[in-house]
Amino acid sequence: MSQESRLTPEQIVQSFQETFPNNIRDSRIERHTAGLKKTELVHIWMRMDREKFKDILKHIMTIDKAPHLAVVSGYDSNETIELIYHFSVYHGTPYQELSLNFVVSLPKADPTIETITDVYPGALITEQEKQEMLGVVVKGIPVNRRVFISDDFPKGVYPWRRDETGPAKMVKNLHHEVKP
């Protein structure tokens, strides 16, 4: 990636806000320094709407042709399920890499989201993990099966949930469990 075409963190946020004026909710640029030289590190956070989320994530490719997807993390915030897509762009040039974190909220009544594996094939395992851990339904996922929890784990129990579908009941009764 050449020096000219590289955007600053502000320009990146602006680029997203201009392309998707109604779908980027709020943005935050987090800066930290480290070492005696005070070399800077930048993390960008953006909240996006579910409607256009895939177009927004595709837009990263216009900033860097080969973005790196670290993982999709997600948690139960009681009312909604929040998913966070952690990307990074501009790796390969010393201390120029920027982390882009996109947050999307899914209502618990309809926790569905489209797959991004057609754009980022490396997202498969992390999408499977979100299905089994959070009860998110990923539409169009190429391999729809459990990855980390075993097939005999009860259906409808999601380990990362904090509501009635969470593992609280199972954990409470762990001492009753008779192992085969």
């Binding site: 930290h32 590190l41 094939p121 380990p159």
Partner: protein, 408 residues
């Protein structure tokens, strides 16, 4: 050409000892000796560590994170500490930043040398296994000297590090570093010039640059395919921004990138040398000062209790980028903690690497990414598998046989 008879076979390998000493299961579709397709199954050692982490205070989580993986027992708590420091706005003192680099690089040396021994064992060179592990023993001695422990180091603290390196410790450290330097050439010669090593590893388990980028490979696995990705150099953390080093891709030595097992050996070997240089640079440049932002644990905990927000902590573990996401909401325990170990990202790249290879190459190709299943899975279940299984011994025997065939 259409045929009525089935020409391929399914062979499940694992989950116990599937070529490596860790539980993961491969389902291979085999045509004769050749692998046509691969499916990877995980989850056999999932221990719900993230869930347990949300029931402990951040300082207790450090010790829990240390137990995610025995080899990366420094980078997991450190990545967690980085995230928590960012949420709570804790500034780490400069001296601690340098000490953090020293421990990270020492861990890399231990891990890469351990891997080199395993790789040699996988293709039947057990004498080299003992040679490299003898070196690793010295690296562990140095770890013990600096941290008081050999495996779970207990050195991480939020806002700094727990033990200082005083000037009277320098001679001992330099002596150990000199030992590695003296022996480096011997190891390099065995791994990179030996005819049999070359025959078994060149052109074997190829991962192209395009696939590495597409499948988000990380660490030495990605760098061996020519992708310049290294968190130490990409983003500033600890004191890496002050130190002089560069991305290591195999072309710095051979002038070309093939993305095969041989290239992965080159990258790891050169990284051992790089780590030695980084430790020396850090010892030289380290400023005086405190080693922790808040030495009183109770005060630190009170501060962390008020922390509210979310942050990510990334650092370069020996196997690649380790990524922790932490959300805190002003209570005693973190609200959510997500751990992403490097092997998690290096699972999918296994598939293009193994396709087209022979059964006897499974151990070395699978081991070439330096996988760590306990890092990747974090809850325990045992799967019943009644189908025909090739066990580790059988696979290892086949791998050794192939080496013998090549060099009678």
């Amino acid at each position: 050409m259409s045929t009525l008879t089935k020409t391929t076979y399914q062979i499940p390998i694992g989950p116990i000892h599937p070529a490596l000493k860790e539980p993961v299961m491969f389902e291979f579709e085999i045509d004769g000796e050749q692998i046509v397709n691969v499916d990877v199954r995980l989850g056999h050692v999932h221990r719900a560590i993230e869930w347990a982490g949300t029931r402990r205070n951040p300082i207790q989580v450090l010790y829990l994170a240390e137990r995610i993986c025995g080899i990366c027992s420094y980078c997991h708590p450190m990545a967690f500490a980085l995230a928590v420091e960012r949420i709570a706005g804790i500034e780490v003192p400069d001296r601690a930043q340098y000490l953090r680099v020293i421990h990270a690089e020492l861990e890399r040396i231990c891990s890469h040398i351990l891997w080199a021994g395993v790789a040699a064992h996988e293709i039947g060179f057990d004498s080299v296994l003992f040679l490299t592990w003898e070196m690793r023993e010295r690296a562990l001695d140095l770890t013990e000297y600096l941290t008081g422990n050999r495996v779970t180091k207990g050195i991480t603290m939020i806002g700094g590090i727990r033990r200082d390196i005083t000037p009277d410790m320098h001679p001992q450290i330099h002596e150990k570093l000199q030992y590695f330097k003296d022996n480096f050439e011997k190891i390099r010669h065995i791994y990179l010039d030996d005819k049999t090593f070359k025959m078994r590893t060149k052109g074997c388990g190829v991962l192209t640059k395009e696939e590495a980028v597409k499948l988000n490979a990380v660490g030495p696995t990605a760098r061996a395919s020519g992708v310049k990705i290294d968190v130490r150099r990409d983003q500033s953390f600890f004191a890496y921004g002050d130190l002089d080093f560069d991305y290591i891709t195999p072309d710095v030595l051979t002038g070309e990138v093939n993305g095969d097992v041989y290239d992965r050996i080159i990258v790891r070997l050169l990284e051992v040398k790089q780590s030695l240089e980084l430790i020396e640079q850090s010892l030289k440049q380290m400023p005086e000062g405190p080693i922790v932002a808040e030495p009183k644990i109770a005060k630190l905990l009170a501060m962390l209790k008020k922390a509210d927000g979310e942050a990510i902590g990334r650092m370069e573990a020996p196997r690649g980028e380790v990524f922790h996401y932490v959300k805190m909401n002003g209570s005693e325990c973190p609200y959510f903690w997500k751990v992403r170990a490097p092997t998690y990202s290096n699972i999918l790249p296994w598939i293009p690497m193994l396709k087209g290879e022979q059964i006897a190459d499974i151990p070395i190709v699978a081991a070439s990414t330096d996988p760590c299943m306990s890092c990747t899975n974090r809850v325990t279940f045992i799967e019943k598998n009644n189908s025909y299984t090739l066990d580790r011994e059988e696979l290892h025997r086949r791998s050794v046989e192939k080496t013998r065939r090549l060099c009678p």
